[in-house]
């Protein structure tokens, strides 16, 4: 990414940064989807940076924008851990569920997946294909059946099988549709009748612009998002909105998806993320 590499090079070399340089930096920050507000904050703070310690000062500034909350997965130490995966249409929820399941499985835990996207045509089949590929059982309901009932059945099944994790995939929904958000709340409520939901992961597409903030706000209002998965980071998008979300809403990014294979999935590393912005 190297958003600040030019800045660092210049300030170290000449100890000066002209108005035109600042304008260029502003454009670059904006072009990374950091948004006008965060861009302004960053530029104001960068103006105070001295040339000697430019790198560490900037790294400090950027680290301050990140959420201070833990990035560890929330788990239930004695028994079933339930994870719900939510997000708007087309961000890669189903793929993320499969990748997360595969990651958990390789760490030696047992997983069950609930195919809660009963709305989109063939979403259940898509998840089942993934399940077969990575060798993880998938509980599905009928097409267009109530997603809450699928989630409930899956929870019962997870308890019966005694697995460590239940991952619930949900249908993509636009966050400004109240009825669909209410449906999502219902899924969570129904599952919680028998087992607490430990983690709610919001999937955000790295190419999303400032709308990502709105998505995170409204999904949190409705189902209390505990972490974010940023997908499609393998494209050209810089996913700056993720930083904006961490700053504005204090929700930690926990995972990143970087490709099409089920192994292209990793924990979010703030240190290397920031190093990437600087170098």
């Amino acid at each position: 990414m190297g958003l600040f590499s030019k800045f660092i090079a210049k300030i170290k070399g000449t100890n000066s940064f002209s108005p035109a340089d600042w304008q260029e930096l502003e454009q670059e920050l904006l072009a990374s989807d950091l948004g006008p507000t965060l861009t302004r904050t960053l530029i104001e703070q960068a103006k105070k940076v001295k040339s000697e310690d430019a790198e560490s000062a900037l790294s400090q500034i950027l680290t301050e924008q990140l959420s201070s909350r833990s990035r560890d997965s929330l788990v239930n130490p004695n028994g079933l851990t339930v994870v719900m995966v939510v997000g708007v249409n087309g961000t890669g929820k189903t793929t993320s569920v499969a990748k997360l399941a595969s990651t958990i499985k390789s760490a030696g835990s047992t997983v069950l997946i609930a195919a809660g996207d009963t709305f989109r045509a063939a979403a259940v089949d898509q998840l089942q294909t993934w399940g077969d590929r990575i060798g993880i059982p998938v509980v599905c309901g009928k097409a267009n059946s109530d997603p809450a009932s699928v989630a409930f059945d899956a929870t019962q099944e997870a308890k019966r099988l005694g697995v460590d994790y239940l991952l619930i995939d949900t249908a993509g929904r636009l966050h400004n549709k109240n009825d669909l958000m209410a449906e999502l709340e219902k899924v969570k409520r129904v599952v919680e009748k028998t087992s607490p939901v430990n983690e709610v992961l919001l999937v955000i597409d790295a190419t999303t612009g400032q709308n990502g903030l709105s998505q995170a706000t409204l999904f949190t209002e409705s189902v209390t998002v505990t972490g974010i998965i940023v997908t499609k980071l393998d494209g050209s998008a810089k996913g700056g909105v993720a930083l904006a979300i961490e700053k504005e809403l204090d929700i930690p990014i926990k995972w990143v998806g970087t490709g099409e294979s089920h192994t292209d999935f990793a924990r979010f590393e703030p240190a290397s993320y920031i190093a990437g912005l600087l170098s």
Binding site: Q27, L30, A31, S32, D33, G35, P36, V88, N89, G90, T91, G92, F119, R120, A121, A122, A123, D125, Q126, T129, W130, R133, A143, L174, H175, N176, K177, N178, D179, D205, A206, T207, T208, G209, Q210, N211, G212, S214, Q215, K232, D234, G235, S236, A237, K238, G240, V241, E260
Partner: protein, 477 residues
């Protein structure tokens, strides 16, 4: 869609309009506000800067020529409106049909942009106009994309050509080619080729798209893009333009609260028109993109033209003619007619979407989003629980009949009473209108149904004066 952009513009112009005389610094302030609003809406920085520069230049040039007494704010507003329309592509563009059928449309775009759903919507749109589209499943990459297209095709009654199951198996180029052959042999007049989503930077997949393009020589290549996309939209669009190339843009997920800045950027930088807009989960939630209407919407002027068209589409000729005749001959408007109207209204799409097309709707966005769509369903249920006699003559509705209807529709008796009261009031009103010497037929050139249809809406609104969204419709009429 575009709502917050719209409200920002509205407030910027509100300040401008309230001034009798506009100074150069007023224009600067307005331009700065517009810049901020556009940046927050994900419009690419370079596009924002040239847009704002052009507005500022034109406004400053226009200012000295204005006489005092003219509404100067309005003049500036017109300049912005014209600039917006220009950036959005001028006038709408339709698909170019091939001289020799089939017309081939190829879809390209990023993963998750909504290509497969869009293929279905496009097919339905053209099938409804009497064309015979064929869907070709050339997305063999994403797990079960082929199945998804088949389900979509089934639900709209459009055949799907899918010789390969997908999931990474099969050659998409061969499928596309065979699809065209098949369409030619079976005389379909349109072929819509769904392709695998790809990242702009993925050269292999881009090459595959190019091979599909060369194999099927499409009449139109449509670039499908998510309206929520950020600054990367420009880079992605450029990569697709350089790679497979495209003739037009389709915006998806416009029903979200995205400000759709990507649309402005792509249209402005690639000089390719936005041809279609997709806005909802149902396969009918799709329309041609009209730059002038969209500009009106961004500027908070509403989109009455689209509203009128949708009404025309939903209220089919037969129902309209029947009702018109009824109205003219002095027959009573019955609950049966009311039911037909309710059903036609639900065909027009969600109430909140209709409301959002009204002028000034930006200001009550929240209320519109929270509109209780269930109300129409519940009212329909009550009417459907009545016998034909009751529907024709609500006077027979005594206590026990009302109790039965309430039970049948799952509502309280008070809901039934409410509906009947409102209905009688509306009926009375219609009689008065008629006796007041209103011309028997509708004037020519007007959608025949519009008068009775709005009556139906108005009547429903009456009961809910507490709901601002509904009140707005009432006031708008």
């Amino acid at each position: 869609m575009f709502e917050s952009l719209s409200s920002r513009f509205t407030s910027a112009f509100g300040a401008l309009r309230s001034r009798g005389r506009i100074s150069n610094s007023d224009i600067e302030t307005t331009c700065a506000e517009i810049r901020q609003a556009l940046l927050e809406s994900d419009v690419a920085v370079s596009v924002v800067d040239s847009f704002v520069a052009s507005i500022s230049e034109k406004s400053l040039a226009a200012l000295p020529t204005l006489q005092s007494g003219t509404n100067q704010g309005q003049v500036i507003f017109e300049i912005v409106n014209a600039q917006l329309i220009e950036i959005l592509g001028g006038s709408e563009r339709r698909v170019r049909f091939a001289k020799k059928a089939p017309t081939v449309i190829m879809l390209a775009g990023l993963q998750g942009a909504g290509k497969t759903t869009l293929a279905g919507k496009l097919a339905k749109f053209y099938a409804d106009q009497g064309n015979t589209p064929l869907l070709v499943a050339s997305d063999l990459q994403r797990p079960n994309a082929v199945t998804q297209l088949q389900v979509v095709g089934d639900s709209i009654g459009v055949p799907v050509f899918a010789p390969e199951g997908g999931n990474g198996v099969g050659d998409p180029v061969k499928v596309a080619q065979a699809g065209i052959e098949f369409a030619r042999a079976k005389q379909y007049n349109m072929v819509i080729v769904d392709t695998a989503g790809r990242l702009g930077v993925d050269e292999d997949l881009m090459k595959e798209a190019i091979r599909i393009r060369d194999a099927v020589t499409p009449d139109e290549i449509l670039f499908v893009v998510d309206a929520m996309m950020g600054q990367d939209a420009v880079r992605t669009a450029a990569a697709f333009l350089d790679g497979v190339g495209f003739d037009g843009v389709v915006l998806t997920k416009l029903d979200g609260d995205a400000r759709g800045g990507a649309a402005l950027s792509i249209a402005s930088l690639t000089k390719r028109p936005i041809m279609f807009a997709s806005m909802g989960e149902k396969l009918g939630d799709f329309d041609i993109f009209y730059p002038d209407r969209m500009a009106s919407r961004i500027l908070g002027l509403g989109d009455v033209a689209t509203l009128a068209e949708q009404a025309k589409k939903a209220f089919d000729g037969d129902t309209s003619a029947k009702l018109e005749a009824k109205f003219a001959s002095g027959e009573d408007f019955t609950l049966e007619d009311f039911l037909e109207q309710l059903q036609a209204m639900s065909k027009m799409g969600s109430m909140s979407k209709l409301l959002s097309m009204l002028p000034g709707s930006g200001a009550m966005k929240k209320a519109i989003d929270n509109f209780d769509e269930g109300e129409i369903v519940r009212t329909t249920a009550i009417v459907q629980s009545m016998t034909p006699t009751e529907r024709r003559d609500p006077k027979v509705l005594n206590g026990s009949r009302r109790a039965r209807i309430a039970l049948g529709s799952g509502r309280a008796v008070s809901d039934v009473n409410n509906l009947v009261d409102r209905f009688s009031a509306a009926q009375k009103m219609m009689k008065q209108v008629r006796n007041g010497g209103m011309p028997a037929g509708m004037p020519p050139g007007m959608p025949a149904m519009s008068a009775p249809a709005t009556k139906g809406v108005a009547q429903k609104k009456k009961s809910k004066s507490g709901n601002p969204a509904k009140r707005a419709i009432e006031e708008a009429q």
